[in-house]
């Protein structure tokens, strides 16, 4: 298994380590519920070094990405991030990735860990086929990434920098120096809370981890693993690539149609237009258990005794104190409040279709100072 530069720290913290797509990653340090709740009430720090980073640079960097990705990048400012999708020619989702515009001809793509290689192949082949004048570089090995998430994230990170983080808006980033080394920080994340994603050279990421952990002592900061990351993203209605979405899923079938701009040409557009014309047959919806049990990935969904779909993600939601999930269901039964049931072992347990997100933070909960 591949190890991140922080692996030894996780072992020293007694983390439970699992194989996540070939990476030895901490799934939890103490327990998932504790780490989940700490993210909602204070702050947590995640090792996200396994994610991929690809640089696109050159006179036609913009033209390549505008063609390769579904989102319209025309109005993207320097210093702004856009979430986008990368599709196959058949319109299936290879990856949902974030696009950082660093300069007019210089972009950073942040990819999922397990799809970085497919993204790399796909974007390179699109560049070669179209003859765009730009260079790609996979810098994943040399870049470390930490996610500092929660209402106290800003107060904690402020102690490590003189930069004014108040001026950093949601889905924007700035370049700064931490430990005298260049780093990049964005106000973004995968938890539904305020927080930051921090990128720095892999060789200093351990030092930044230590400094943040120390700065967080007074703020109730805890390290958190992939277990809490999964329950946090699910409560916030965010999808997980490889589980909820894949190359056999169209962005039109999941809450990603907003990433698609049909006013421009992009790889996979023809297939999406055809699908739009013929109409989608299934849709990814939120579900909430009203009966006993917890829906899990792979469980079947029923309406009466008719099978209408399959659960893609399901868990006990610690903040909501109930069982929630995501499922693909027949489009006819996808409206909120539809009463469905989930096949849990040998029984059908009642559930209903609900609107997403399941959880939404109050915008004014950013804690500026430690709580007495």
């Amino acid at each position: 298994m591949k190890k991140t530069p922080l692996y030894e720290k996780h072992v020293a913290l007694n983390a439970k380590i699992i194989d996540f797509g070939g990476w030895a990653m901490p799934v939890q340090y103490t327990n998932v519920i504790e780490e989940h709740k700490a993210t909602r009430s204070a702050a947590t720090l995640f090792d996200i070094c396994h994610m991929g980073e690809i640089v696109v640079k050159g006179p036609q960097a913009y033209d390549l990405l505008q063609f390769a990705l579904t989102r319209n990048l025309q109005n993207q400012e320097i210093g702004q991030i856009k979430l986008s999708a990368l599709l196959t020619d058949d319109g299936g989702i290879i990856d949902d990735l974030t696009v950082y515009r660093i300069a007019s001809d210089f972009y950073l793509l942040v990819t999922n860990a397990t799809t970085c290689e497919s993204d790399w192949q796909r974007i390179n082949s699109l560049r070669d086929a179209q003859g765009f004048d730009c260079k790609l570089e996979n810098i994943s090995e040399n870049v470390g990434k930490l996610d500092l998430q929660g209402p106290s994230a800003q107060a904690i990170f402020s102690t490590l920098t003189n930069y004014d983080l108040n001026s950093l808006r949601y889905y924007h980033f700035m370049e700064l120096k931490v430990s005298g080394q260049p780093a990049l920080i964005s106000r973004s994340g995968y938890t539904g809370e305020d927080g930051f994603e921090i990128y720095a050279p892999a060789k200093i990421i351990g030092d930044i981890w230590d400094r943040i952990m120390k700065a967080g002592l007074d703020f109730g900061l805890k390290p958190a693993g992939l277990g809490a990351r999964d329950t946090l993203r699910l409560e916030s209605g965010m999808m997980l690539n490889g589980q909820d979405i894949s190359e056999s899923v169209s962005p039109l079938e999941v809450p990603y149609s907003w990433l698609v701009d049909f006013d421009k040409e992009f790889a996979g557009a023809a297939a999406l237009r055809a699908l739009q014309q013929s109409g989608i047959k299934k849709k990814l919806v939120g579900l909430e258990m009203t009966g006993r049990g917890i829906a899990r990935h792979g469980y079947k969904v029923f309406l009466g005794d008719k099978e209408i779909g399959i659960v893609t993600s399901g868990t006990f939601a610690p903040t909501l104190n109930k069982a929630i999930g995501l499922a693909f269901v027949d489009i006819d039964y996808s409206s909120p409040d539809t009463e469905i049931s989930i096949a849990i072992r040998d029984t059908l347990s009642p559930a209903k279709v609900v609107k997403m997100p399941f959880y939404k933070r109050l915008k004014n909960t950013v804690v500026k100072r430690p709580v007495d």
Binding site: V32, H36, G293, I294
Partner: protein, 132 residues
């Protein structure tokens, strides 16, 4: 550190315990080591009263946030009581696996089956090997 494995009961290799009540019935639960491995238990599915269970076969289910785990019957018999408190408070297994967190009471088919289970010392050894 998990709590000490008690000498008043026997243990299965699947981390269940069975305590002889001396009246042809046994109390069954999972070990403290097992709850520690599972962590935050959020759901327990109990068998129906009167269910006949067979040694080594799934008898109940416990779920943590991340995982679904079968509980195997350490001996064969008939379920004569279930700990229905676990339906409202599944975390009782985390806080008191050897006591308040018991799962079922069974009328044992063959009391000799108990002797085939591990004693506390043998179970200690099993979990110490598990850790390495």
């Amino acid at each position: 550190m998990s709590k000490q494995n008690l000498n008043d009961r026997r243990y299965s290799r699947d981390h269940e315990w069975a305590k002889d009540n001396g009246d042809g019935t046994v109390l069954i639960g999972i070990t403290d080591y097992a709850q520690e491995m599972l962590t935050d238990i959020v759901f327990v599915e109990l068998p129906p009263m009167g269910k006949k269970v067979v040694k080594g076969e799934p008898m109940a289910v416990v779920e943590s946030v991340k995982s679904v785990s079968d509980i195997y019957a350490p001996v064969s018999g008939e379920v004569i009581a279930i700990n229905s408190k676990l339906e409202e408070e599944p975390a009782l297994i985390n806080s008191d696996a050897f006591g308040e967190g018991w799962i079922v009471r069974m009328r044992i088919d063959d009391a000799a089956e108990l002797a085939l289970l591990l004693d506390a010392a043998a179970y200690d050894l099993l979990i110490s090997e598990d850790k390495h």
